[in-house]
Symmetry: C2
Subunit: 408 residues, 2 copies
């Protein structure tokens, strides 16, 4: 797809039987696919997984961008789980798989006859992974969860927002993708262990619980103060200025730059004072000392604002960054897609899908210099014949018969 | 530590040589430690890694809570990297290690003589992992990065905040921990591959790039509209109500509950109308139809607000959850620490550290029913003798000599 990307093939030969849908499960299996596993989505013959129609896509009536972005590099087979022979077919596949994953509502997979006890008895080497909204034993065990529910109940919203404002939902989909990443870690650890032990493991993660992994800093603030962390007050102690986002030229919605001075490194202030045209303040103890600068927070923030307003966010980030002052322009998706280096480095790639293209980020870790190559998300049932032949030895006639009987 | 937790031991026998500091690197190696790897932090004999003094801890002058929460289950040795014999010692350890990881400022590890070329030549099986702020080839390649800088430049802040408001930094430390999780995935995939190939890999992640993995939904919105996703407008198309946080009794800073109706599931509204005491609206096409309900957004949100104001967030979440309506109370760290089920399920554990206790979340995935057990973060140099004996065969006399010479 691009010279800047390569298939890292770390998981060549690993078979993942994927009954997950929407985002929390699919982000997990997408990473595994990008790292080289053969991920086979098992989908309802009537329309496939519900993510296929979440919002629009490149063409009316075709798969949604939502589906394309979370299901790159995978295969798709159709199976009717309401038909007993369909369930039997999934069991046969589970016997040949290394990993099984599902994120249906609580109790559904067991009612289908595909619970842990059944599949692990058929295949003791199977790694059986489940993603739910709340943990078994939680008071909310049977409640529904979506990304924003996990972000509320998992502690993310309580620490996000303006000082004195109401809680805010973080835009990144930590409830879903944040959970999927932790399950990917767990599956890989279990796969590694299985090389030695020869047996699989049962893995379970709750979206609510997963959030705690990303908000641990707030637990240290609770330990220090006995109180929940206030919004707009992240960090260790009082917010020594500057430690905020500042408005930039020409004043659009995303024309802002974060400027930070580490409270452990006085060099940041010395350098910044020079940039602000006030080098004498870099040596002035009334400003250099972090506690004294904190007492002058409004004055310092106004000085920084006066400077940032004279620059675009890109200029501000470049000037401050070069001077050794931590600074980050508030980049949006448009800015990121317009910055050529993401594509040159293979971090942004184009998914060439039969319905149309999608420019998107890949799994952004480089393996021997290159991140994983993006391949298109599968059409519904695109790999049914291929996978049933390779995994179960079925011929074209067998597959046609199963189709005729409404099993697949 | 608790009957609800167990060491999963997936990575038993894996040796990780850890030169990382602060959060992005240490969260990666903490997961590996909790999954059973032997993670050895290599620290400056004078004070150790800078995270040890970031904020206060259980006792004045002792390790900070910050350090304790990101370094559980690890070991610590001291090595003076300014002494040539110290660098030689790290090379000897790298020859015996499976994984090497660092997150120093760009160019530092190479200047120390511990770059990829040097260590991979000494040990071709070594998995060599680096975390930086910006990617090689990025215009900001040499700029400093902290969590908030990555969250600004990685797209998180542009999509976080109130409608029409300025960008907001998400409270969860995605810039750091979000990056660490992606590196953990990559290390585990490389370890698995090495079982077959016998050779290590070079892994590199940039904190800015890592954020794109968590904001992929915003890229689908860009593909659909050609414009960056607006703040307060996540999701697929217009925000069909309710899809927001609502104020609860008694009106404290975190007394809010998120209430959501999936725009693909009309049952959510039917159920909610009953809870709100207006069952007739559940069947009324002017409200049931999502586009018509959107036109009445203010009215619907006021009805929900009138109801949530009569309940605490815990009541609201319980009542709505039981009725099959997606709802999540905005829980803060105090709420989470007070909810007994987290401890009963082993998700929250107490780290018993020589300086004092810290109640904290573990890696929240259950392996055969139990999440990983938390063990205390190491004191500076606590395992110097043990590790140098086991890895390098040094005796107590050798270690004493190295100490005397200022090498460790």
């Amino acid at each position: 797809m691009t010279a800047a990307a390569l298939a890292p093939n770390c998981l060549a030969g690993v078979r993942v039987l994927d009954l997950s849908q929407f985002e929390a499960g699919p982000t997990c299996t997408e990473v595994l696919a990008q790292l080289g596993a053969e991920v086979v989505k098992v989908e309802n013959p009537k329309g496939g997984e519900p993510g296929r129609i979440l919002g629009t896509g490149p063409k009316p009536g075709a798969d949604a961008y939502y589906f394309m972005i979370y299901n790159a590099n995978k295969k798709s087979v159709t199976v009717n789980l309401k038909a007993p022979r369909g369930v039997a077919l999934v069991k046969e596949m589970a016997a040949k798989a290394d990993v099984f994953i599902e994120n249906m509502t609580p109790g559904t997979i067991e009612k289908l006859g595909l619970g842990y006890d059944v599949l692990s008895a058929l295949n003791p080497r199977l790694i059986y992974a489940q993603v739910k909204g709340f943990g078994t034993g939680s008071p909310y065990e049977n409640s529904l969860a979506f990304d924003m529910i996990a972000q509320a109940a998992g502690g993310n919203m309580a620490i996000t927002g303006e000082v004195g404002g109401r809680p805010v939902r973080p835009g990144p989909t930590l409830g879903d993708t944040g959970t999927g990443m932790l399950m990917a870690i767990s599956i890989l650890a279990a796969l590694f262990q299985r090389v030695t032990t020869g047996t699989g493991r049962r893995l379970q993660v709750a979206m609510q619980d997963a959030q705690l992994n990303y908000t641990r800093g707030a637990f240290t603030n609770f330990a220090r103060t006995g109180k929940p962390q206030e919004r707009g007050r992240a960090g260790f102690g009082p917010p020594v200025p500057p430690n905020d986002i500042f408005p930039c030229k020409p004043g659009g919605a995303n024309d802002w730059t974060y400027v930070f001075n580490s409270h452990n490194n006085p060099e940041h202030w010395r350098r910044l004072a020079g940039i602000l045209g006030r080098p004498e303040l870099g040596a002035d103890p009334d400003y250099l000392d972090r506690d004294k600068r904190l007492a002058r927070a409004d004055e310092v923030n106004q000085m920084v604002t006066a400077w940032t307003r004279q620059h675009t966010k890109h200029e501000a980030m470049a000037i401050l960054g070069k001077a050794g002052i931590p600074a980050g322009a508030v980049l949006d998706t448009g800015d990121i897609l317009a910055e050529k280096s993401f594509e040159d480095r293979g971090i942004i790639q184009t998914q060439h899908h039969p319905s149309g293209d999608l420019r998107m980020p890949t799994f952004p870790v480089r393996f021997d210099g290159k991140p994983p190559e993006i391949k298109p998300a599968p059409l519904l049932g695109q790999h049914t014949e291929e996978v049933f032949a390779a995994w179960l030895g079925l011929g074209a006639g067998d597959v046609a018969g199963l189709k005729e009987d409404g099993v697949i």
